[in-house]
C-alpha cells in the first residue's frame, strides 16, 4: 500500500512545516486517495475553546428586494452569508483554500480527473427532520446545468457532462475533460444542497447550522441555532443579518454597538475604526483585484503600445498606500497574486512606473485621446481611474474618465465599451481564475483577448497533477497575461471588515468578506 506510506510521509512533512498545507493536500489528491475527514479541521485548532451562546448582528453593504435563499441566484455577500447559515455544500474550503469534506465525507477522482465520486454522510438531517440522501445532491447539482437553468454559477459546470447517482449515499460527476479543480469549485458559495424538488425559495428547507426564523428581502433575516446539526458548529444562539448601504452609517452602527460585525469598510474610514477601542479591524489579504480592461477588438485594446503605456503609467504603490491605505498588494497586471500561494509566479519582471517610455509608446501608438468608463466596482476603482487621468494629463495625453452608476454596469458597460474598469473576486484556484477571465473563448473575458498558447496551457494544467509541472505551466500562463493581455491590474485589495473585540474565531478564507462567510459556523462570542 504504497499510497498509505506516501500519505504518512507527506503528513510528517506537513506537521514539521517543511511543506505548506496546500502542497500536502495536492499531493495526496493526486494520488487519488479519499482523505479521512478528521484531518480536515487541523487548522481550526482554536475551535475547541469556542463557547456557545449569545446572539450577534452583522451588517452587510448590499441588500435589496433581490435578496434570496435560492442558491442559484445568490449575488451579494448578504446572500452568501444566509446561504452559509441555511445550507451546507458537499465540499468546504479551509483558510488556505484547500477543499475539505463537508456533506461529502470523502471524495476522489479517477486517473485523468474526468470522473469524481463523492460519498455522502449518512447522519445528516434536514431542518424538517427528513434525512439527506443522494437524490437531494443530484437535484441540487442539476439545477446549475441545462439550457434553461438561470443559475449565476452555470458557467463553472459547463465542463460537467452529467451527475449520476451511484448509490443511496454516493454520487459521481462525469466531465468531458480533466477537471482537477472540481472539489475547489464545489466549495463555491452557489453549490448548496437543497431538498429534492424544492422550487419555492421563500421558506426553503436546508441542512445548515442555523434554522431560518424570519426573512424580509431588503430588510434583514434572523437565524436560530439548529440544535440537531450533524457537527458541533453554530456557536451563536441566533444571528441577525441585515444591510446598511451607506458606508458611513455602517461604520457608525458598529461604533455605537447597533451591529457587532460589519463588512466592506471604505479605506478612508480606517482611521476612525483603529482609533476606537473595543473594535478590531479584520484585514484579509486576497487575490481579488481591480483593474482596467481594454476590448481587444476595439481601438485601444488592439494597440499593444497603448496597452503597455497604460501599464507604465500606473502609480501602483500610490494606489495601495493612498486608496487602499496599505490594505492590499501591488499588482503587476497579473490576476494571480501571493494569496494564491504556490501557484503564484513571483519572479515576473515588474511593469514599473515609467512616464517617459509611456509617452514615447503613446506617440508610437498614434492614439491622441481616449475615453474610459469608470464605476465603483470595488473600493477605489473610480479614484484609480482619476489617478490615471491625472498621470496622462501630466504627459499631455487627454484621457476622459466618464463615471457611470454601478447598477446596470455589468450588463450595459462591461465587455461592451472600448475601455472600462473591471473587478474580480478571488477564485478558489489560480487555474479557475485564469480559465474564467483569460481563456480565448471564456464567456466572461474582460477583453475577448484571444491567445492560442493560453488555450492549450489551460487544458494541460487541468489535467496536470504534478505540482512542479503545474507551477511551470502557471508561470508561463501568468507571463503571457502580464505582457500581452490588454488588462491593467495595479493592485490587489484585501477584504476590510470589522468586528467587536468580544467576537473570536473568525476564519481567514480569502474568498469573501469575513473569511468567505465561514464566520457563520466557526465564530463565537466571548460572554
Amino acid at each position: 500500500m504504497i499510497k498509505n506510506k506516501y500519505i504518512e510521509l507527506q503528513k510528517t512533512k506537513l506537521l514539521n512545516g517543511t511543506i505548506g498545507r496546500r502542497k500536502f493536500m495536492m499531493s495526496v489528491l493526486a494520488a487519488g486517495v479519499a482523505l479521512p475527514s478528521a484531518l480536515s479541521f487541523a487548522n481550526h485548532a482554536a475551535a475547541s475553546t469556542a463557547k456557545k451562546g449569545g446572539s450577534i448582528k452583522t451588517a452587510f453593504n448590499l441588500h435589496g428586494p433581490d435578496d434570496t435563499l435560492d442558491p442559484c441566484m445568490l449575488t451579494s455577500d448578504t446572500d452568501y452569508a444566509r446561504g452559509r447559515a441555511h445550507y451546507n455544500s458537499l465540499i468546504q474550503l479551509s483558510d488556505d483554500i484547500v477543499p475539505q469534506p463537508e456533506l461529502a465525507s470523502s471524495f476522489g477522482a479517477n486517473a485523468d480527473a474526468t470522473e469524481w465520486s463523492f460519498n455522502i454522510r449518512k447522519d445528516v438531517v434536514f431542518h424538517d427532520g427528513s434525512k439527506l440522501t443522494a437524490d437531494d445532491v443530484i437535484y441540487s447539482m442539476r439545477r446549475h446545468m441545462g439550457a434553461d437553468s438561470t443559475s449565476v454559477a452555470k458557467g463553472l459546470f459547463s465542463v460537467i457532462k452529467e451527475w449520476k447517482k451511484v448509490g443511496p449515499y454516493e454520487v459521481k460527476a462525469i466531465c468531458e475533460t480533466g477537471y482537477s479543480d472540481l472539489p475547489a469549485i464545489l466549495g463555491e458559495k452557489h453549490f448548496k444542497i437543497v431538498k429534492d424538488g424544492t422550487t419555492d425559495f421563500i421558506n426553503p428547507v436546508g441542512t445548515g447550522p442555523y434554522k431560518l426564523e424570519s426573512m424580509r428581502p431588503g430588510i434583514g433575516s434572523v437565524h436560530v441555532r439548529n440544535e440537531d446539526y450533524w457537527r458541533e458548529g453554530a456557536n451563536f444562539d441566533s444571528i441577525e443579518l441585515f444591510g446598511i448601504t451607506d458606508s458611513i452609517s455602517r461604520v457608525s452602527a458598529l461604533l455605537s454597538g447597533d451591529a457587532d460585525m460589519i463588512i466592506s469598510i471604505p479605506p478612508n474610514s480606517l482611521q476612525q475604526i483603529e482609533s476606537t477601542e473595543g473594535i478590531d479591524l479584520i484585514s484579509t489579504p486576497s487575490g481579488s483585484y481591480m483593474g482596467i480592461g481594454m476590448h481587444s477588438e476595439k481601438e485601444y485594446g488592439s494597440n499593444p503600445d497603448f496597452v503597455m503605456a497604460m501599464k507604465l503609467l500606473q502609480r501602483r504603490e500610490r494606489i495601495v498606500k493612498t486608496l487602499l491605505k496599505g490594505h492590499g498588494t501591488v499588482g503587476n497586471d497579473n490576476p494571480i497574486n501571493s494569496a494564491y500561494g504556490v501557484d503564484f509566479c513571483s519572479d515576473l519582471p515588474m511593469n514599473a512606473y515609467d512616464p517617459d517610455r509611456a509617452k514615447a509608446l503613446l506617440k508610437k501608438s498614434g492614439i491622441t485621446s481616449a475615453v474610459m468608463e469608470a464605476a465603483e466596482v470595488s473600493p477605489g476603482a473610480v479614484e484609480m481611474s482619476l489617478l490615471l487621468q491625472r498621470e496622462c494629463q501630466k504627459i499631455g495625453f487627454d484621457l476622459n474618465v466618464k463615471k457611470v452608476p454601478t447598477d446596470g454596469y455589468w450588463s450595459a458597460v462591461w465587455q461592451k465599451t472600448p475601455m472600462h474598469t473591471t473587478a474580480w473576486n478571488m477564485r478558489p484556484t489560480a487555474s479557475i481564475m485564469l480559465d474564467m477571465a483569460y481563456h480565448p473563448d471564456a464567456p466572461w473575458s474582460d477583453t475577448f483577448w484571444k491567445d492560442e498558447r493560453m488555450r492549450d496551457l489551460l487544458n494541460k494544467v487541468k489535467g496536470e497533477t504534478d505540482p512542479k509541472n503545474r507551477h511551470a505551466l502557471q508561470c508561463e500562463m501568468q507571463k503571457i497575461v502580464t505582457e500581452n493581455a490588454p488588462v491593467v491590474i495595479p493592485a490587489h485589495s484585501s477584504y476590510l471588515d470589522a468586528k467587536s473585540s468580544k467576537i473570536h474565531g473568525v476564519p481567514k478564507l480569502p474568498l469573501g468578506a469575513l473569511g468567505g462567510g465561514e464566520w457563520v459556523e466557526f465564530a463565537w462570542l466571548e460572554s
Partner: protein, 315 residues
Amino acid sequence: MWIMAARRILIGIFLIWAVSAFIFLITQILPGDAAELILGQTATDASLEALREKLGLNQAWYTQYLNWIYGLVTGDLGVSVAGGSTIADLIKFRIGNTLFVGGIVAVISIPLSLSLGLTAAMMPGSMIDRVITATTLGLIAVPDFFVAIFLILILAVGLGWFPSVSYLRGNEGFLKSLYVLTLPIFTLVLVVSAQMTRMTRAGILNVMSSPYIEMAILKGIPRRTIILRHALLNSIGPIINVIALNLAYLVSGVVIMETIFAYPGLAKLMVDGVQTRDIPLVQACGMIFCTTFVVLILIADLATIVSNPRLRHPK
C-alpha cells in the same frame, strides 16, 4: 360649496389615473431590465432569454400596462421581479415604518412650527423673531444629509445616547421602536419644521397688511387675539398647503434619511427597485407616492374651501 368640492374630488381621481400613465411611461425608459441585473456578470443570452420569459418581461407594453392597471385595481401589486416575493409583502412592512415615522414627525412638527411661526409673526423684528428666522434659515440652507450625519456623530457615536442606525425587526414595542427611531425623527422634525415655520410666519405677515387687521387694531383688540383670530383664520389656506407638501415629502422625499439611518422605509425600497430594475416594484411605490401627494393636496384644497366662508355660504 358642495359642487366645488365634488369637482375637486373628480379632478383628484382623474389625476390619479394620469399619474399611473405617467409612471408607467417613465419606467419604460429605464435601460436594461431586471434579468440583466440579476444575472449580471454571469449573464449569457440563453439564460437572459429564459429569465425574461419567466418574469414576463417580453410581453407587448400595452398588455403589461393593462395587467398592471388591472392588478392595481384588484390590489394584486404583482411579484417582485428581482427577489420573487410578492410586492405587497415587501411594501406592507415598509409602509408601516414610513407612516410610523411620518406620523410622529407630523404630530411633533406641525404644532411646533405653527406656534413658532405665530410667535415670530406676533413680534416682528423682536429678538425671538430674529432667532427663529435665523435658525430656520440655517436649517433650510444646509443639505439635509449634512444635518443627519452631524447629529449621528454627536448623539450616537459621540455621546452614545441613541442608536445611530434605526434597524427594526418589526416586533419591537412602541417605546422601543420610538427609542430606536429617535435620530431620524429628530432630524426630520428639524428639517420639516424649518420649512413650515417660515411659511406660517410669511402667511400671517402678508395677511397683516389687510384693512380688517387695521380695523381690529383701531377697535383696541389685544395683539394675541388679532393674530390668533383675525390673521390666522384668513391665512389658513397657504398654511394648510405647506403642511400638505411637507407631509408628502415625509412619505416620498426622505430617501436620503432612510439611506443614512439604514431605515427600512418606502422611499429606499423604490430606489433599490430602480437599481435592480424591479419595474413592478418601482411602479407600485410610484403609485403610492403620487396617490399620497394627490390625496394630501386634495385634502388641503377641500380644507381651504371649507375654511373660506365666501364659499361655504354662497350669496
